[in-house]
């Protein structure tokens, strides 16, 4: 069982190690990263993740059990960060190791969809206003005549 809700960074390589096992020939890992989205508040430079820890861990464990039962996953990874994450940092890694690829793809899809829909984790965007350079009329005229 590998369920984590942590303020420490993790890696896809670390998840791959957790997903090793005899006969587990199909491994699918999904990683989610913080995007530099642009919204009304400006350009996102970070996301603050928070969780209601005890219910979140219980729900993650239940999702893991269901993935094993439904898809025959021999190993499962469900890791999520909390705290402030900058653009580019990995916020979530889920993975499933099964005997064959079809079940592994289905299981990994199930893991991330269920995590997003049913685990009490929230993110809040932190953004900076985007400054637009002011046009100086004189220079604009110079360029237009050049």
């Amino acid at each position: 069982m590998s369920v984590r809700l942590t303020d420490r960074a993790f890696t896809v390589a670390g998840a791959m190690r957790m997903l090793e096992g005899p006969g587990l020939g199909g491994v699918v890992v999904f990683a989610g990263r913080v995007r530099p989205d642009r919204g009304r508040a400006g350009r996102v430079f970070a996301l603050d993740y928070e969780a209601h820890r005890a219910p979140a861990l219980r729900r993650l464990a239940a999702i893991e059990r269901e993935a094993r039962a439904r898809f025959g996953a021999g190993r499962v990874v469900l890791w999520h960060r909390v705290g402030r994450l900058k653009v580019g940092e990995i916020s979530v890694v889920v993975g499933a190791a099964c005997a064959h690829r079809a079940a592994a793809f289905d299981a990994a899809r199930f893991l991330i969809d269920e995590l997003k829909a049913s685990v009490p984790i929230w993110k809040t965007e932190r953004a900076r206003p985007v400054r637009r350079p002011r046009r100086r009329p004189g220079r604009a005229r110079e360029r237009s005549t050049g």
Partner: protein, 88 residues
């Protein structure tokens, strides 16, 4: 101790916390407690800014999802407001 026993701890997350500017409330209740739906109505009356978040939230009572809003919330209990989730 006596003071804590006559109150419910309310946990606010995400949009609910941002609406109020704080993550916890110490809510006074009678020794017999209060029904969950009455507690939610009282919260919305006292803090109108919480209204939108309360309308879309799930509620968690002592760590368990609340499916029956007639459930009594008693002094010393924890009552959490969960706006729609956004992990990933």
């Amino acid at each position: 101790m006596t003071r804590r026993r006559s109150r419910v701890v309310i946990l606010l997350f995400a949009s609910a916390r941002e609406a109020l500017g704080r993550g916890t409330l110490d809510w006074p209740v009678s020794p017999d407690g209060v029904r969950a739906d009455a507690l939610v109505r009282a919260l919305a009356r006292t803090y109108p800014r919480l209204g939108p978040a309360l309308r879309t939230s799930r509620f968690v009572h002592n760590g368990e999802y609340l499916h029956d809003l007639s459930t009594p919330i008693r002094p010393g209990d924890e009552f959490a407001v969960h706006p729609p989730y956004g992990g990933g």
